[in-house]
Amino acid sequence: MNKFKNLPVVRAIGFNRVVLIGVILLMYLVFALLTPVLHSGATFLKYDRILSALNYAYFIGFLGLGVTFVIATGGIDFSIGPVMFTAALVSGYCLTQYHVPLWLCLILSIVIGVLFGIINGYFVAYRFLPSFITSLACMQIAKGVGSVFTKTQSVTWPTEGNENAWFHYLVRWGDVPVGFILLCLVAAICAVVLNKTKAGRYILCIGSNKEAVRLSGVNTKKWEMLAYIICGLLAGVAAIFYVGAYTTVQPGLGDTFNNEAIAACVMGGTSMAGGLASMLGTVIGALIIALMQEGILAMGFTISYQYVITGIIVLIAVTADTLSRKRKN
């Protein structure tokens, strides 16, 4: 076992991550075996299933990457799911009702995400509010703004083959999962930002001991707020991938995705206490969440099971993290 842990590949990826990849393969196997049993006539062994799971993994992945920055500072953002929906609703409404050019709508989506990131970041970093309650308030505001702007109507973006539908290619070009390549690319950029830049160093140190960093003469408010802005930005990006995969968005929803994105983070080895984060882990976590929801639906269960299982996963991951920290002290 120790020999395996010391393999160069394993060390580069991290042992926990390797275990998680093993979990993905195991889950796939279990779903492949159980699906025909539980849901007669259905099969899990189809390329479509993989593509469908990936569709779910993209937006959860982007949300997860964003919230990883926030969790790295020791905070939390519960508004990302509804913010993503609001971004998709408002920009989609502009596209379909006001005929704003598509490229501008995509930018608008990201701008909306950034705006909510600024609101969260401002109240947490500059007004010292607890992040969870700030982002919960922001979640309500985001839900409300989305509904008000679209007059509580759902918004359907142009479907594939129509005018103004090239954004679907960001997700999938024929059978090629373009979105997966983009997700990996963005994850790589996030990892570089977190580990190789000044911003990342400060964000991680703030998560470990904010007061010590402040007393070292660092403008902690600025860098802490930046984490929330990055998180908002990626929620805006996630919105594009959501509509690219599912086309239609409804107002007033999205909060369940917070939990799934946070679950992806903590599973991937990002510590809720801050200071420790892994972008690769978050991507793998998102893949697990996505595969799980595909499997649950394929086996004929309702999505409610997903909520329960996600809740239990987060509890276990956070408990493990807390206990391991306690043991070290």
């Binding site: 000044k198 010590a212 660092v218």
Partner: protein, 503 residues
């Protein structure tokens, strides 16, 4: 002198990486006050925490009233009549005085708490002890000294047979200390066993009957107070380390330029109209009691807490310092009293800590230049003689002395000329202490200037070129090292505004 009421024999206690106690003996007798003495980190508090069940001992026996005991928590010890007055205040600020004193054993009236009885009982208790505090007052509104008196009253109210005072006088003024001694004598006459932990030699002579000395977690010996001199006790406390005599005169040339001038600094209740000058190459000692406002002064000066008013001049130029960022830009560094909370990022490496104050200088564009960063860290790790397997080591794995050196390294890499050392040797063992002192002397020789806040009288008189004494947020005295005695510092440290407490 009465019978033995409690004996501790051969007590061992290990913490990860440290042998905190080894083979410690202690004997408490009825109707006497036993002093427990030793340097910081000698293991006095640990021993008392083992006795009251806060820590579990690894070996040894505790015999109390003829039977062997082992407590699992402070409550069990309390119920058996052993109570401790902690060094840190353990108060629930939102509750009232009476509610604090009776927490965990509220008098009840059916289902309900009988607050009226609680208040009148507290009033009776205070009368007995001659304390003038309203039982219905909210705890957080009292001064530190009064909170301490409440803590003592709480301990006494437990019908105790053994009371341990863990540095109770650290925050008290002279008159409050007098009052405390009256209470202690009174308790002694009621045949209680009392343990008194303190650093202050004159207090020990005044109030205690016997002295037990500890050093580096070991039992050194016990003396009868009236038969021994201060030097006897000091020799036992410091043992192998040669205790350097106080500095006799300032090392700063009289024409040394003023590098920092603070005028009329005000910040809340704890910093009132503070003005002073710091010269190049000087170690300026700040002395005073716990809660005198020295740390608050330093934090306000450094921009860590907001200040209400006041001007700061650096090398003659007026500067605006509103955040630590401003202070660092002007070459000020602050080494906090609470290293783990404010000084270092425990879960990060030495390198990451070392370049924290000036990371932009070790960046190429937005990217960190890791080679350059490692090079400078290595260089300072060598010059400061930080003992570590490597510069990628997490700071949490270093000893207290080496952690403090990492903090110093951080400020040196950050090019700070004015360093504020707040309790620089707290929680550091004796050997490393010596190294920190040498390092501070080397720094001033190199032309840096140091403000040193310390509650240890020996440290103040040994290191400082000049001493400023604070009490209740004000500067009450400024002394040249040449004409300073510890008694004089104590006098100024307890000089309350208006002098009403010194009659």
């Amino acid at each position: 002198m009465g019978d033995v009421i409690l004996t501790m024999k051969g007590i061992d206690k290990r913490f990860p990486g440290v042998q905190a106690l080894s083979g410690v003996n202690l004997e408490i007798r009825k109707g006497e006050v036993l002093a427990l003495m030793g340097e910081n980190g000698a293991g006095k508090s640990t021993l008392m925490k083992v006795l009251t069940g806060i820590y579990k001992k690894d070996a040894g026996t505790i015999t109390y009233e003829g039977r062997e005991v082992e407590y699992n928590n402070p409550r069990e010890a309390q119920e058996d009549g052993i109570v401790i007055v902690h060094q840190e205040l353990n108060m629930m600020g939102h509750l009232t005085v009476a509610q604090n004193i009776f927490i965990g054993r509220e008098p009840k009236n059916g289902f309900l708490i009988d607050d009226a009885k609680m208040n009148s009982d507290t009033r009776k208790l205070f009368q007995q002890l001659n304390i003038d505090i309203n039982p219905k007052e909210t705890m957080s509104k009292l001064t530190v000294g009064k909170q301490q008196m409440c803590e003592i009253a709480k301990a006494i109210s437990h019908k105790a047979k053994v009371i341990i005072f863990d540095e109770p006088s650290a925050a008290l003024t002279e008159s409050e200390i007098e009052q405390l001694f009256k209470i202690i004598r009174n308790l002694r006459d009621q045949q209680l066993g009392i343990v008194y932990i303190s650093h202050r030699m004159d207090e020990i002579k005044k109030i205690t009957d016997r002295v037990t000395v500890m050093r580096d977690g070991c039992y050194v010996g016990t003396l009868i107070t009236k038969d021994c001199t201060k030097d006897d006790i000091i020799n036992m406390m410091v043992g192998r380390v040669i205790y350097e005599t106080p500095k006799t005169e300032s090392h700063v040339p009289p024409d040394a330029p003023v590098v920092l001038k603070v005028e009329h600094l005000n910040a809340g209740r704890m910093v009132q109209d503070v003005s002073f000058e710091l010269h190049k190459g000087e170690i300026l000692g700040f002395s005073g009691l716990m809660g005198a406002g020295r740390t608050e002064m330093a934090r306000a000066l450094f921009g860590a807490d907001p200040k209400d008013s006041g001007d700061i001049y650096i090398k003659g130029e007026k500067v605006e310092i509103h955040t630590p960022e401003d202070a660092v830009r002007h070459g000020i560094g602050y080494l906090s009293e609470d290293r783990k909370r404010f000084g270092i990022v425990l879960k990060k490496s030495i390198t990451e800590n070392a370049t924290l104050t000036c990371l932009p200088r070790y960046c190429k564009g937005v990217f960190i230049d890791k080679n350059k960063e490692k090079q400078v860290t290595k260089q300072y790790v060598d010059t400061l003689r930080i003992k570590t397997p490597g510069i990628d080591q997490l700071v949490m794995n270093l000893s207290g002395g080496n952690q403090q050196k990492v903090v110093i390294e951080k400020w040196l890499i950050g090019d700070s000329d004015i360093l504020i050392f707040d309790e620089p040797t707290r929680g550091i063992d004796v050997g490393a202490k010596q190294e920190i002192y040498e390092l501070m002397n080397r720094l001033v020789d190199e032309g840096k200037s140091i403000i040193m806040i310390s509650s240890e009288m020996a440290e103040i008189t040994r290191m400082s070129d000049r001493i400023i004494v604070m009490c209740e947020g004000r500067i009450t005295g400024e002394l040249d090292i040449k004409e300073t005695s510890q008694e004089q510092i104590m006098h100024y440290a307890t000089l309350r505004a208006g002098g009403s407490d010194n009659e």
